[in-house]
Symmetry: C2
Subunit: 120 residues, 2 copies
DNA sequence: CTTAAAAATGCACTTCCATTGCATTGCTCA
DNA sequence: TGAGCAATGCAATGGAAGTGCATTTTTAAG
């Protein structure tokens, strides 16, 4: 089952909500998905994305995606037209300067707008 | 009532969830808050913040906060210890380069970590 | 000042998603 | 083979966003 989920995610290039995967498999339970994705996340197989819609999305980590390492984070793009969220893995987040006393652990950068397909 | 809400928000320096304000006033209804904040947001009085917790936060716009203008967005800091989210208004978001065909409308940058108070 | 219209507020309800408890199934290894 | 653990499924819970409708308050016109 986990293999099926993994393969499904590998075949898609946009980030998926839990319900997206749920609809793709009629025979799998939401709880299984939820826990599978949680396990995947802990093992560094997927990373969770908050794109501002309030719905958690998940995407497979690319070979070079060291999402556990703070300085190697990529940005995410959310299309306001088609609703898809994609990882722009080649676009790294620039170094952020914080005020004195602040300690960064994680950086999340989401750009909203029109994607490749919807901007034309 | 809207004045009371405004004054309450002006007296706090961290972003507030709807439930935070609800707890501060025993006599106001959630719906009123919800719609008041929505109105405030439309009028440019407050801006909504998604700090990754999945709960929408709201903060008053500072005098120089032109949050409707794309290039003048500031970043937000979410403390993983105390849970507070603050606006770092003096820290502007750097220009982001997007791939060909992508059109940016909005940028959201949230840094998670330890805040001033919790890092010591 | 009176009254009608518009705006603001409150109550109840719905929906959606995340999360958890518990029972059941399936797998692994001694 | 059989005990133990991991994985799965079902059902229920909880929190937050959002909406329809009735009521109160404010505004403005006459």
């Amino acid at each position: 089952m986990r293999l099926l989920i993994y393969r499904y995610m590998a075949g898609r290039d946009a980030a998926m909500a839990l319900s997206d995967i749920e609809n793709a498999f009629t025979k799998v339970d939401r709880t299984t998905l939820y826990r599978t994705l949680k396990t995947f996340e802990e093992k560094g197989v997927v990373h969770q994305i908050e794109d501002g819609t309030g719905i958690s999305k998940y995407a497979l980590c690319e070979p070079g995606c060291n999402c556990s390492i703070e300085q190697d984070l990529h940005l995410h793009f959310h299309c306001s037209n088609c609703g898809e969220t994609v990882c722009l893995t080649e676009h790294k987040i620039p170094q952020i300067n914080l005020p004195e006393g602040y300690l960064a652990e994680d950086v999340n950068l989401v750009v909203t707008g029109l994607c490749e397909k919807c901007s034309t």
